[in-house]
Amino acid sequence: MTADLSGLDLGQRIQQKFPDAVVDARPEWTEVRADRLVEVCTFLRDDPELNFQYLSSLTGVDRLDHFEVVYHLLSIGRNQASTLKARCHDHENPEVPSVVSVWRGAHLQERETFDLMGIRFRGHPDLRRVFLWEGFPGHPLRKDWLNFPGGQMAGLERFPGEPGGKLEGRG
């Protein structure tokens, strides 16, 4: 069974090495400062006890006021998994450093996140849109994409048929 390395534990280990890097740690995940990301990731990959040499998944989440980039890490040798997060506060121009230099597997995933979410990955060798064509208006996975009037957003407010007003978005 793949052990889920607790985010608190992971945060502590990172704290020992980089005292100022950890922003927040929960049992499910650890959040690190975006500008220290590459160093932290290199450490996570090379540290023999952590050994996260496999980047399982990389994606972004639009939290309305900021963006989160979520890294699901996996250690094949030790069979343990953990989740790392980085936050970009600038909602208009989100930018985090690219981890392609650490995990080659981030290459296409960062391109995808850039394409759909609009997060720029600094230092990515080939940051182009991947699914949508150049010149596509906006980034569709952002909650404010298309800017519906009245601050309405994508999403379900309630189930169809559930009592309430006219069905609108989550906004």
Binding site: M1, T2, E28, Q53, Y54, L55, S56, S57, T59, V61, D62, V70, H72, I76, N79, A81, T83, W103, R104, G105, A106, H107, L108, Q109, E112, L116, R129, V130, F131, L132, W133, P140, L141, W145, A154, G155, L156, E157, R158, F159, E162, P163, R170
Partner: protein, 378 residues
């Protein structure tokens, strides 16, 4: 002698790009010097669509990402959703999930192997034989859930329905005749001189590069890394079943090919055990208690409001690690719905594998990655 570079656009309409995938190859004679992937011809923005639909309504999307193996797509998503809601499906459902995903793996691998031989130039014969078996598997699916391709069988907390009584005899009959077929295929394909010289040493992916590139599934195992989520992180009822991980040694096209063939045999082995060990009982958990329901809303499984949080569910799909990252804000629909699709991420080292090879090899290498464009583009 210096010659002009020659740019060829492979696809999106090409007999062996397995869909609408496009490779822009820069050639020097027949040799490839550069590769640029152009993806997105089948992009349907499923991740955005899923934010507008309730958790249960999203299950049909998971059929349509990897339409060659819909069952595993269902399973990965419901695992993530169950993790999020904290639901434990009943035992019989777990075993049926194993049976369905192994049948699906067999069907999917037989397509992959057959089409790889097709890419190698075998004029339809292997794929036709493979499709014959796949049809029988699809017949079983039709029995179980009424659909052959887009099954929509799994539910959060179990399955949509139990299997009909005629399913078990039919499945046993199929499983009994498959080992003989496998012998035939191994003779026909693995021992084939031309396939051996065409695929040995082609598209070599070293183990370190494979891991660094987040490659998964038969590609990772073909490179010699014994990593199988069914063993390493058993889900459903895999921890109660005896089976082996199939590993290659060189990481070339041939190794991926034989890993798939060997996994087909392992699937048969798992199915033999699962068909004997499956218990009786309900196939769906009572999940109303596990969800947060507002006042006056009927507590039906369809009206599922998971607590705020996030979950990442991963399974070993025929193509590799299929993961669903689901974020909930307590509403009826996922706040964020991300698919970690193995087909897409397995394409990461394609350039390294293809550059330096010839055009004919490029087709084989792409075939050995075994992409499904519905899953690459989503």
């Amino acid at each position: 002698m210096k010659t002009e570079p020659f740019v060829v656009s492979f696809g999106p309409q090409h007999p062996s790009t397995h869909g609408v995938f496009r490779m822009r190859l820069t050639l020097d004679g027949e040799q490839i010097t550069d590769l640029d992937m152009v993806i997105g011809y089948l992009h349907r923005s499923m991740e955005k669509l899923a934010e507008e639909r309730s958790f249960t309504q999203n299950i049909p999307f998971t059929d349509r990402t990897d339409y060659i193996s819909a069952m595993t797509g269902n399973l990965a998503y419901v695992l993530a959703a169950e993790k999020l809601c904290g639901i434990e499906p009943p035992e019989r459902a777990q075993w049926l999930r194993v049976i369905m995903s192994e049948l699906q793996r067999f069907a999917s691998h037989s397509m992959a192997v057959g089409f790889l031989a097709n890419d190698c130039g075998a004029w339809q014969t292997p794929i036709m034989h493979m499709l014959r078996d796949r049809e029988k598997v699809l017949d079983l699916f039709e029995m179980a859930c009424g659909a052959r391709l887009t099954t929509n069988y799994m539910r959060i907390g179990g399955l949509s329905r139990d299997i009909p009584p005629e399913f078990m005899p039919a499945a046993r009959k199929l499983i009994a005749e498959l080992p003989k077929r496998m012998d035939e295929y191994e003779d026909l394909l693995l021992e084939n001189e031309i396939i051996v010289i065409r695929s040995r040493g082609i598209g070599v992916l070293p183990a370190e590069l494979a891991i660094a590139s987040s490659v998964s599934g038969p590609m990772l195992r073909g490179s010699g890394v014994a990593w199988d989520i069914r063993k390493a992180d058993p889900y459903a009822a895999y921890d109660k079943i005896d089976f082996d991980i199939c590993v290659g040694t060189n990481g070339d096209v041939y190794d991926r090919f034989l890993v798939r063939l060997a996994e087909m045999r392992q699937s048969i082995r798992i199915l033999e055990q699962a068909l004997d060990m499956i218990p009786a009982g309900p196939v769906h958990a009572q999940i109303a208690t596990a969800t947060v329901q507002p006042e006056g809303v009927p507590s039906a499984p369809l009206a599922l409001r998971p607590p705020a949080g996030e979950a990442y569910g991963r399974i070993e799909s025929p193509r590799g690690e299929l993961g669903f990252y689901v974020v909930s804000d307590g509403g009826p629909a996922p706040y964020r719905f991300h698919i970690r699709s193995p087909s897409y991420i397995n394409l990461t080292p394609l350039k390294e594998m293809v550059v330096g090879m010839t055009v004919a090899d490029a087709v084989m290498i792409l075939g050995s990655v075994d992409i499904v464009l519905g899953e690459v583009d989503r």
